[in-house]
Amino acid sequence: MKFGPCWSCSDAVILFDCHSGDYWVVSDLGFKLLRLLLTHAEMTHEALAMQLAPDLAHEENPAMLQLTMQSLMDNGLLQAVHCRAD
């Protein structure tokens, strides 16, 4: 899995799966979430929420973290990051 460049005029990032050739458009929050999971071997939900607190503060919906995680799971991205099939 690899991320596309972080282009400044955008609030989304492209995530590319080198194996299947699929790509996803991931929100900024989703991107930061995945990046945290990729760079930390162990991460609890509390720690995740704390790290993302500054971004979550701008969100209108208080359940945005859960919604984002659910969406990433529905698209198989959480599992893919976990497996790191590379």
């Binding site: 080198c18 194996h19 299947s20 050739g21 497996c83 099939a85």
Partner: protein
């Protein structure tokens, strides 16, 4: 045969890449075009790179392009196999990869530069129903929908009809034996299943590949029974490469002969070894050839059939339609059907195929 103007043949360059060093533009053009026709462009690219041959820029684009596509397909095959593990892993049966997929996942780095079509797997016949159900649950559907095709595959051949994935469009062939149920030889698939080895890639506990001897045997049996030879030279090159890699492993040749004889395949394997020796000059120990001939009650591979195959496998020259080659290919095609099916089934089947080719909409 080498012709002065046209440069060395594809087979010659594959055997000795140094022959490509003094080629001019026109000769490179012909070599690339022939390799592409024979589906060996990626393999040629790998061979030339390994021998560090200097390739002119224009030809390089074609060779690198094929190699890049092959790498991409290798990745894709690996990923598909992970999907198979996910779909079928809980059934507690061995899932043996065959042919291309086996080359990618084997520990011997086979199939470098090779392009892939379908993915082939072998499963125990008793598990076939469950396998088909689980595949459908995970998005694979039967690609052949007519009642005739369903019957052809299930009743007479050795596989359920090809399944294609709804979203990804990859095609999966699920086999329960390696030759059609109606064929002359009756190899026992259980032998391949029991000798199959786990793969080195992590996360694939249910996936197996045939042992080296069975990889070679299966490739030979497939080629010798195959009717459509547009990939014939590629498949023969696979066999040549495998024998090159495995030939020096202790006990390999002994096991190869023993497995072939023990599984009612001494005839096809004897023929296949003679063919690869004839076309690629692959060294095959005499004692192995003799053992297989003895198992065939002294019958050696038919020189006429060897010549016919040799002709049929010749890479087509761009502007020359050699009628002898066309006839050889047709003979092989008809022969393959008679090997797979009794004659009473062959004629109606071929007649139906022709009908459909003329009137593709008129499928009943």
């Amino acid at each position: 045969m080498t012709q002065r103007d046209e440069g060395p043949t594809l087979v010659a360059v594959l055997a000795d890449p140094q022959l490509a060093t003094p080629l001019n533009d026109a000769q490179w053009s012909r070599l690339v075009s022939t390799a592409r026709h024979a589906n060996l462009l990626g393999a040629l690219s790998g061979r030339l790179k390994a021998a560090q041959i200097l390739i002119p820029a224009r030809a390089s684009r074609h060779l690198d392009g094929a190699h890049q596509l092959s790498d991409r397909q290798h990745r894709s095959v690996r990923w598909e196999v992970h999907q198979l593990q996910a779909a079928l892993g809980h059934l507690s049966i061995p899932i043996v990869l065959l042919k291309g997929a086996a080359y990618v996942l084997s520990a011997h780095s086979l199939g470098q530069g090779r392009l892939f079509g379908d993915i082939d797997i072998l499963v125990p016949r008793t598990a076939l129903g469950e396998v088909e159900s689980q595949l459908m649950l995970h998005g694979w559907v039967s690609a052949k929908t007519s009642a005739y095709d369903q019957r052809y595959y299930r009743q007479w051949m050795h596989e359920i009809p090809p399944m294609s994935h709804i979203r990804r469009a990859t095609v999966l062939d699920v086999h329960h034996t390696i030759l059609p149920l109606t064929a002359r030889h009756k190899p026992d698939p259980q032998q391949i299943l029991s000798r199959a080895l786990p793969v080195s890639e992590p996360g694939l506990p249910a996936i197996r590949v045939p042992c080296p001897e069975d990889l070679v045997i299966h490739s030979i049996v497939h080629l010798v029974h195959e009717g459509e030879l547009h990939n014939g030279l590629r498949d023969l090159n696979d066999i040549h490469s495998m024998l090159g890699k495995f030939g020096s492993m202790p006990g390999f040749w002994t096991r190869l002969a023993a497995h072939a004889i023990g599984n009612d395949l001494s005839g096809p394997v004897s023929f296949g070894l003679a063919l690869v020796q004839q076309v690629f000059g692959t060294p095959v120990p005499v004692v192995v050839r003799e053992q297989l001939t003895q198992a065939q009650r002294g019958r050696r591979p038919s020189t006429l059939l060897l010549a016919t195959f040799g002709l049929a496998l010749e890479p087509p020259q761009p502007d020359e339609q050699n009628p002898a080659v066309a006839i050889a290919q047709w003979l092989i095609y008809v022969r393959s059907h008679s090997l797979r099916m009794p004659l009473r089934l062959v004629v109606p089947h071929l007649a139906r195929k022709t009908w459909l080719a003329w009137f593709p909409d008129k499928e009943r």
